[in-house]
Amino acid sequence: MAEARAASAPVLTTHELTRRFGGLIAVSNVSLSLHQGELHAVIGPNGAGKTTLVNMLSGQIRPTAGRIALEGREVAGEPVWRMTRLGVGRSFQRTNIFPSLSVEENVRLAAQAVCKLRRNPFKPARREADLIEKAHNALQRVGLGGVTTRLAGTLSHGEQRQLEIAMTLAGDPKVLLLDEPLAGMGPEESQRLTSLLKGLAREHAVLLIEHDMDFVFAVADWMTVMAEGAVLAEGTPAAIRANAVVQEAYLGGHA
């Protein structure tokens, strides 16, 4: 693995991150780094600990041991809401939106959650034009600009996945954690998401979990392969494709 990597300083790094559930070690001594402008894919079979890793990075669960540094600041064990406010945004594997609220309101809440300005909380929400504008911008980016007044629960599955990403974007993240953004999407929607992801990776540090290997190899700049909670290999997509250990353990001749 001698390939050169993005030269920029890492935005987020983990050091020997570990999570145990009782006797089970879900994630074991994982050290990796996410860089600005790099799309970092984490692959591995079911139960490899990918989602547990994302849950620790986003603050949903506490690490048992190890460190997480965000721009040099130690953040392991911070609650999820503070992680988001510090700049770690995530989208969920299972669509997790507010079905009875409008599409705009779903995204507006995301923008409100992280707004830095001190605001009067009792001011009418529809007078805060900057939040609404931010929501519209995020919706435009994911291609939902035309359905802002619809109720989120009435969107198609693919549109709900796009909304999920718009909500993450409206939170102004530095790091984007995307947990299977393609799950259940049709080919046309996947196409649009692929180009969106490539664009996002230029401005953010992106960690992507995905099972669709063709998609992963098409978009990833750097890859980490996990198995049974530990890092099996890391490197550029080409190096991973050529790696004999990975071939045997996971890809099974796919590449």
Partner: protein
């Protein structure tokens, strides 16, 4: 939560006018009953901020209501009324302080456990007044009613006029409470409460410290319950531990259930209906609770959206922003 159609708003305004005109033609007994119904409506409305708006079901809400009534008793010297300008803020502050303490501890739990912890806190407050001499023990105590006075000038009221003045004060406070909650629900803060009701975990992932928002809602609900408790003390001139007990909390929940969980005017309609139902049941039978229970059961089974969900034909329900059928479909999906 808020009436979306013009027709709905007109109906609400007409209801308020009807309540305003009631003392002109009703007998004194019914004015007193009306005051009681308005006070119950304030209690139910304050609880709706938690139940319907934030998704927090509390079984200890009457503690703040009762505590406010007892505060009026405790600061009133025997045989001498105190100005409402002193009793109202004192009662509301006591209720809010209690809500801050109870909320800070109980909001660390969720769902069923939250229900049980609020019940436990409510019963603790109940037994403080039940088992000590602080407020006359189990028998309760009479107090001089707060005076409608400013500085040294007291509103000159005869014995007959006083209940009418209390009625209008209660009505005014109820309307003010309703309008404040309308503003709260439209605010940045209110939008967060709605998000918490729909999907609290997602709100945390978006970056909201939901505990703080829930605590703020809990304290506001406690303050508003304090207004209702104060008006009870002013209306009846009597306090007893029954005001605090879980029965009263459960009644407030039933009023919300009867009137409708999804609207702000639901608890008001529910409280008026509940009080009327109790009165009617007492007239026709000695088994008042049985009749009440059966009617409530029927309403809840037949009207999932409560009394506030019936009545308006489709053309009146049209809302300016969202297609009605789409909204219904989405709500069915969330609640299903």
């Amino acid at each position: 939560m808020l009436p979306r159609s013009t027709a709905g708003r007109v109906l609400l305004g007409a209801g308020a006018l009807l309540l305003g005109a009631m003392p002109v033609f009703a007998q004194p007994y019914y004015v007193e009953l009306g005051t009681y119904a308005l006070i119950s409506a304030m209690l139910a409305l304050s609880l709706q901020l938690l139940v319907g708006c934030t998704g927090l079901v509390s079984l200890g809400h009457a503690a703040f209501y009762g505590l406010a009534a007892y505060t009026v008793y405790l600061i009133t010297p025997a045989n001498n009324g105190v100005s409402i300008l002193i009793t109202l803020p004192a009662a509301v502050a006591a209720a809010g302080l209690a809500a801050l303490i109870v909320g800070a501890l109980s909001l660390r739990t969720r769902g069923f456990f939250f229900l049980m912890v609020t019940l436990a806190f409510g019963q603790m407050v109940f037994f403080i007044f039940h088992d000590t001499k602080l407020g006359g023990g189990t028998d309760g105590a009479f107090l001089s009613r707060p005076l409608l006075s400013i500085l040294d000038w007291e509103l000159p009221l005869t014995r007959r006029q006083r209940p009418i003045a209390t009625y209008y004060l209660s009505l005014g406070l109820l309307i003010a409470m309703y309008l404040s909650l309308v503003l709260i629900l439209r605010s940045l803060f209110g939008r967060v409460l709605e998000g918490i009701r729909v999907n609290e975990h997602r709100m945390q992932a978006l970056g909201f410290n939901t505990y703080r928002y829930k605590l703020a809602a809990f304290v506001i609900a406690g303050l508003l319950a304090g207004v209702a408790g104060h008006m009870w003390a002013m209306h009846r001139g009597f306090v007893n531990p029954e005001l605090i007990g879980w029965h009263r909390s459960a009644e407030a929940l039933l009023m919300i259930l009867m009137g409708g969980l999804t609207t702000l005017h639901g608890p008001i309609i529910g409280a008026l209906a509940f009080t009327g139902l109790g009165e009617f049941a007492q007239l026709i039978t000695e088994r008042k609770l049985l009749v009440e229970g059966l009617v409530i059961l029927f309403v809840v089974l037949a009207l999932p959206k409560g009394l506030s969900g019936i009545g308006m034909p489709r053309w009146m329900r049209r809302s300016p922003t969202t297609d009605g059928s789409a909204r219904a479909a989405a709500e069915a999906r969330t609640h299903g």
